[in-house]
């Protein structure tokens, strides 16, 4: 049954912009168009910038994630939708997160973003709450938007996406023109729900899913009673952005295709195994989170190494999550048969595994079992559970279980010790059913800590030390104890401890290229700003540095991949006809980055106190950890602190190391804030905002109170 229909004039994209967005309110079924203004394009560029701006205007400091005025905004960006440059079909999803109560942003592939753009809109705003489950359909060829009551019985994404692709495609040939956004049953019962964005794989003849994983956006989606979003657009071509200089874009794309063709096999094997190529590398450098980040390696890692996954992943297919992605990291294990749960015994496709999943669902919870990782991966995706949060929160639970904070009685019979694959799977199934201990687990680490302290009498110091969350968001899967810069890369972030802002472990810990606080601060300025830019444009980060030109090592700053930075400048200028350089690129990001920081402050967060990280991220919390790397830590006590470890107890040594490391983090914070133009409390200064052209009255009003 159609509840509301809205007809709109088809438009034409001009130099990367439609100059309008689509607004839908589900409380009263309002559907309308909004103008995308020059102000928006100048200050916020697109993608996550637009998402944050719309959200800013929709909410107040009092708004909670489950208030009707909270929005989910999906936006792509001016470069998105080109088919020539790898990684150019990304959507940025922004909402107030149920985990952090702050704006969350998540970058996701699949065809929805580009098709939304070709249908005529630079962003989609979803506000309000429906009474009953609804499906929103955008027909990008006819110019129709419909809100309809959902009649879909199925609760999980792999089925919902398949059914709706069937329903809205005219025929088999047309399926590639349909993209579905949905989540699964666990998003109804947990705060870690994700969104699955689909694309149709014409060779497999199957619907594939990519995830906007972080921060519980799927939970907000279900709270609004949205069953699915569907877009259909027929007629994709390489020039629909009406670029100022299409030839420049074509040539830049072909150059990178060639580079990938010649070098990927020698470099990261992204085309063969995707991001999972680094599993054993992380283990060898003691960086693979193992047993809730206690350790960085494990003797059984070989059982989940990349070659084990490579053997399970179908080879030789153009696995891009948007057209033209020759890096093709969107791997899939075909004909996988789950051993548990509602889809037990059925043949399914597992999208992945990506590195994060192998680490989070593998080593971090002690499951050194390839097919176990794949099964957890499949169920997380289709249930709509963020694999990173699930891995990290399950690791936390397992450590609590092994330390007696939890027991079988409290978990309803689940023996959640490290390595118990069956128990981890059952925990996940409980999240999907909204039952038992799965309901508590689905609240995330921050709330579990409170419950364990208050109701189970857990030692607050211990659970706060080992609970790997910050700002309410679970850490992603890298061990950063030995890299101060990466501690900052996790801690001094806008949305929480996700490595998409900066990944500096090798530069810092291994290469020792950024030894001083100033060096680290410079890196923690440049890289987060540079990487923010992908989210403004609708781009993927991977083609920036998961493939590098052969001569990159001879350049002045190899870590920045100067030739690829120039590619991005060329793409932006090629699309928009503007003439920015690599410095203006950073400034575009800085405007939005500082805006997001101020948004956090407006919501009551975003200050220095919120940038602290649990000690497990910085050093050994337990004797077991200290002793496992005793030689390393003893040496540091001697060399850095001039102490004599021979005459100290382990507890004394741990205390001395802790004091030192915590001080280092504070000094780093000082240096980074100064570099970013913030006060010691982490507040952007008015001078900084003026310098960026972001001295907008409503921003000044927020920061003024905190200066």
């Amino acid at each position: 049954m159609i509840l509301k229909e809205y007809k709109y004039e088809l438009g034409k994209i001009e130099r990367g912009y439609n100059n309008r967005s689509l607004y839908i309110n589900l409380s009263d079924n309002t559907i309308k168009e909004k103008e995308v203004t020059q102000f928006m394009k100048d200050k916020f560029i697109g993608g996550k910038g637009f998402g944050l701006w719309y959200l800013w205007n929709a909410v107040t400091p009092e708004t909670k994630w489950n208030d009707p005025e909270n929005e989910i905004v999906i936006a792509h960006g001016p470069i998105a939708g080109i088919t020539q440059y790898p990684g150019s079909g990304k959507s940025l999803v922004v909402t107030l997160s149920p985990l952090t109560h702050m704006p969350m942003d998540s970058n996701v592939g699949g065809y929805f973003g580009p098709y939304l753009k070709f249908s005529g809109f630079d962003a989609l705003e979803l506000q309000g709450k429906a009474e009953k489950d609804v499906i929103i359909f955008i027909d990008g060829n006819k110019g129709i938007v419909q809100i309809m009551e959902s009649d879909i019985e199925e609760k999980d994404s792999h089925l919902i996406a398949e059914i709706l692709t069937e329903r809205f495609a005219k025929d088999e040939e047309d399926k590639k023109n349909v993209s579905v956004v949905s989540t699964g049953s666990a998003a109804d019962h947990t705060l870690v729900g994700l969104l699955n964005f689909s694309f149709y794989d014409i060779r497999r003849k199957a619907v594939r899913l990519k995830q906007a994983g972080r921060g519980g956006i799927g939970t907000v989606f279900r709270d609004k009673k949205i069953k699915a979003l569907v877009v259909r657009f027929e007629g994709t071509k390489g020039n629909l952005n009406n670029a100022a200089d299409q030839g420049k874009i074509n040539r830049t794309g072909i150059k990178l295709h060639r580079e990938i063709c010649l070098l990927d096999d020698k470099q990261n094997r992204m085309r063969k195994i995707g991001t999972a190529n680094i599993i054993e590398i992380m283990d060898q450098y003691d960086l693979l989170p193992t047993h809730n980040y206690k350790f960085g390696s494990h003797k059984d890692t070989y059982k989940i190494s990349s070659d084990k996954f490579q053997a399970r992943v179908t080879q030789g297919l153009p696995d891009g999550c948007w057209y033209g992605c020759s890096l093709s990291c969107a791997k899939a294990a075909d004909d996988f048969i789950p051993q548990t749960g509602p889809y037990k015994g059925q043949k399914v496709i597992v999208d992945g595994p990506e590195y994060e999943n192998a680490a989070g669902l593998g080593s971090n919870i002690g499951v050194f079992d390839r097919d176990g990782v794949l099964e957890l991966n499949f169920y997380c995706d289709t249930y709509g559970v963020d694999t990173i949060s699930f891995g990290t929160l399950t690791a936390f639970i397992m450590e609590c279980y092994e330390n007696g904070i939890l027991d079988k009685e409290k978990t309803g019979g689940l023996e959640l010790y490290f390595g118990n694959k069956e128990a981890a799977l059952e925990l996940l199934h409980q999240m999907a059913r909204g039952e038992g201990f799965g309901k508590i687990a689905g609240l995330g680490i921050r709330r579990m800590k409170e419950i364990f302290i208050k109701e189970y009498g857990a030692d607050p110091d211990f659970v706060n030390d080992i609970g790997m969350e910050q700002k309410g968001l679970e850490f992603s899967e890298y061990l950063c104890k030995e890299s101060l810069a990466q501690q900052g890369g996790y801690g001094l972030t806008n949305k929480g401890p996700q490595h998409d802002e900066a990944w500096l472990i090798f530069m810092d810990m291994v290469n020792n290229q950024i030894p001083t606080f100033e060096d680290k601060a410079e890196a923690l300025h440049y890289f987060p700003m540079f990487r923010t830019w992908f989210g403004l444009m609708g781009l993927c980060k991977l083609p920036w540095n998961d493939i590098v030109p052969e001569n990159n090592k001879y350049t002045d700053e190899p870590a920045k991949i100067p030739e690829h930075v120039q590619n991005y400048v060329d793409l932006y200028n090629g699309i928009t006809g503007k003439n920015i350089d690599k410095h203006e690129l950073i400034r575009q990001s800085e405007r939005v980055y500082n805006f997001q920081r101020i948004f956090n402050i407006r919501m009551g967060y975003g200050k220095r106190i919120h940038d602290k990280i649990p000690y497990r991220a910085m050093g050994p919390v337990t004797e077991e950890e200290y002793l496992s790397r005793q030689e390393r830590y003893d040496k540091q006590l001697k060399e850095l602190l001039g102490l004599d470890p021979e005459n100290m107890t382990t507890q004394e040594k741990m205390a001395a190391l802790r004091k030192y490391r915590e001080e280092q983090y504070e000094k780093l914070t000082d240096a980074v804030y100064a570099r970013r133009g913030w006060t010691k409390d982490g507040v952007p200064t008015i001078e900084k905002l003026k310098e960026l052209g972001m001295d907008i009255p409503e921003l000044i009003e927020v920061v003024k109170k905190h200066l």
Partner: protein
Amino acid sequence: MKVLKKNPEKCIACHACEETCSKLYFKEENREKACLRIKETDSYPEITTCTQCGVCIDICPVVALSRDKRGIVRVEKKKCVGCFMCVGFCPEQAMFMHDDYIEPFKCVSCGQCVKVCPTGAIYMSEE
């Protein structure tokens, strides 16, 4: 399958083949729009031609490349989304792009270029 073959020692780089090709294909004498390329070097000219190997077929994300009845690899323009992955991944560098078009183009083994070659530097061969 008839495939265009080359014999660079005989090539005098008169470029007649390229001009004929672009004229036939795009109604324009423009060597940058030819489906084969002659590049002068210090030694014999470098002749770039398609071997019809078909690597591009598997690269294409929309299955716009396929073999016709003669076994020749053809681009189906209607299906093509202009990603140019085939151009970057061609082992012979014989898939081409020109700013005037949003689809790539390639040799279809029509043999017209062979007819105008004065020296036999290119020829059709049954493979």
